[in-house]
């Protein structure tokens, strides 16, 4: 199984600022996913980040608001820009465990509170 770490684990930010979340995986993976889990809600896929190409965003999510970097096969960042209280959520990165994409492994999440 993949070991995934995220930084920061939590943060409190002011309206209008940005937060960059880092995701580090202990093995090389082609695909990385970023999810949002709003309070009391399920997981919503924000985007898929493939190394060497632009991230693919889901409906309702745009690059200007959620820019993603994927500089290598073990690391990715998600930035949440121009924060508003509605962005208060848990943000999770996730990877499939190997070449066969079946189940996913998740990082511990970053809990963001926007004041």
């Amino acid at each position: 199984s993949a070991v995934i770490s995220q930084k920061p684990s939590r943060d409190i930010c002011q309206r209008g600022t940005s937060l960059t979340i880092q995701c580090q995986v202990d093995s090389q993976v082609t695909m990385m996913f970023w999810y949002r889990q709003q309070p009391g809600q399920s997981l919503t896929l924000i985007a898929t980040a493939n190394q060497g190409s632009e991230a693919t965003y889901e409906s309702g999510f745009v690059i200007d608001k959620f820019p993603i970097s994927r500089p290598n096969l073990t690391f990715s960042t998600l930035t949440v820009s121009n924060l508003s209280p509605e962005d208060s959520s848990i943000y999770l990165c996730s990877v499939p465990p190997g070449q066969a994409y079946n189940e996913q492994f998740f990082g511990p999440g970053t809990r963001l509170t926007v004041l």
């Binding site: 995934i4 695909m31 809600q41 399920s42 997981l43 896929l45 898929t48 999770l92 996730s94 994409y101 079946n102 189940e103 996913q104 492994f105 998740f106 990082g107 511990p108 999440g109």
Partner: protein
């Protein structure tokens, strides 16, 4: 379009009793089905999956799930609940040939001692 329904927001069960957490799905093609668990202040952990083969699949922590194609269901079960099973459970589905996994709304399980 893919969808997952978890009809119960919350399931309450006494310790030692069997538990069932329900899930139904809709997907094009053959379904890949998953259950994940989320403990407080922790990320999601994979429990079990159905890809093909036996309809009854066994997973971590004594959990199992039964794939029922005619009812498009994939209910999570455990013969004897533990207080430590109390958590948030998510059912998820992906259609074969796709890469996007859809998660259900989640069911909160409370196991009372």
């Amino acid at each position: 379009a893919q969808s997952v329904a978890q009809p119960e927001d919350q399931v309450n069960v006494a310790e030692g009793n069997p538990l069932t957490v329900k899930c139904t799905y809709s997907v094009s093609g053959n379904p890949y089905l998953f259950w994940y668990v989320q403990y407080p202040n922790r990320g999601l952990q994979f429990l079990l999956k159905y890809i093909t083969g036996d309809n009854l699949v066994k997973g971590s922590y004594g959990f199992e799930a039964e794939f029922n194609k005619s009812q498009t269901s994939f209910h999570l079960k455990k013969p004897s609940a533990l207080v430590s099973d109390s958590a948030l459970y998510f059912c998820a589905v992906r259609g074969d040939g796709g890469f996007k996994t859809i998660f259900g709304a989640g069911t909160r399980l409370f196991v009372k001692a």
